[in-house]
Symmetry: C2
Subunit: 168 residues, 2 copies
Amino acid sequence: MRVSEIGRMKCPVARTLSIVGDPWTLLILRELFLRSRRFEEFQGYTGMAPYLLASRLKQLTKDGILEKRAYQERPPRYEYRLTDKGLDLYPVVLSMSQWGNRWMSDASGPPLTLTHKHCDSHSAPHLVCPECGEAVGARDMRAEIMPVMQADRARMWKKFKRQTARDR
Amino acid sequence: MRVSEIGRMKCPVARTLSIVGDPWTLLILRELFLRSRRFEEFQGYTGMAPYLLASRLKQLTKDGILEKRAYQERPPRYEYRLTDKGLDLYPVVLSMSQWGNRWMSDASGPPLTLTHKHCDSHSAPHLVCPECGEAVGARDMRAEIMPVMQADRARMWKKFKRQTARDR
DNA sequence: TTACTAACTTCAATATTTGAAGTTAGCACG
DNA sequence: CGTGCTAACTTCAAATATTGAAGTTAGTAA
């Protein structure tokens, strides 16, 4: 299977990865959540090659994550903004930020702080169960693979087994 | 900047990306959260090439996300399990799953369901502010870049500007 | 007319991924 | 004792993607 085919799996994680499964794309998203909007800002703050940046911005726009619009006509200049679909990726980027803070920080103090606008407190949002309100982690949840995804997995497994059998 | 240097930025998102900023790595994590443990399972259910799988597992082990252990001696067979550091990546994978459910699903019904073990209800955990308990999204939070990260960004920006100036 | 800017595009060199095939260390069957 | 089978990789050559450097476009400003 090629990277470009990951999105064809009947799995919500895989489908999300087909859009944001790339470090440069996620750095662009980080910048957007830090309120960068211009090509130059993305390039300067991520350090990525302009060819790659252009191709990623094009793809994200096609995927409906970003909207490109001119912020002036002459000379033509553009900005990129998150759509609602893009804004909704916030939990992904935030989770990465919090994991990085917890597990990858050095002695130089917190690089980012977050304030909840509504209650005006510094906070690190966490996941809770909407039913009981308790904080949840990996050990607290049980995932069940439904028939539609199970069938897809069974198909992949069979293909894999057929392949290894043919090798002999 | 090269992909392999992303982790040197003083940014928690970038540092996390240096470990999980790759679609195959995240698919391996998905499998681990779905309780896969063996090389063969990862290969069969992700469809990735064995060379890539082996190199990713090696790196994840080195990064302290996984532990490799023999589950039998003769013939030698191994399994891979999440460490605490790895388990703590759950919010990243869960956020991706939920975004995929919301924005990338087709008509064939939900591929995965989650049950909160403690209250036994089907639930889609969401982010809340720990201070006031309110659900939070991108628009509700204000990020502030602290001096240590700000300095790093300023350095990158200057380097970028120096580079484009030299081009002329 | 020359310098400068933002937003790209092009090109050649390098690095990574892919698919197919091969290897290793055993067990199981006839 | 030989053949087949398994899980967990490794190797190789071809295809694909990324990188760094340089170039382009459509303007404004001095």
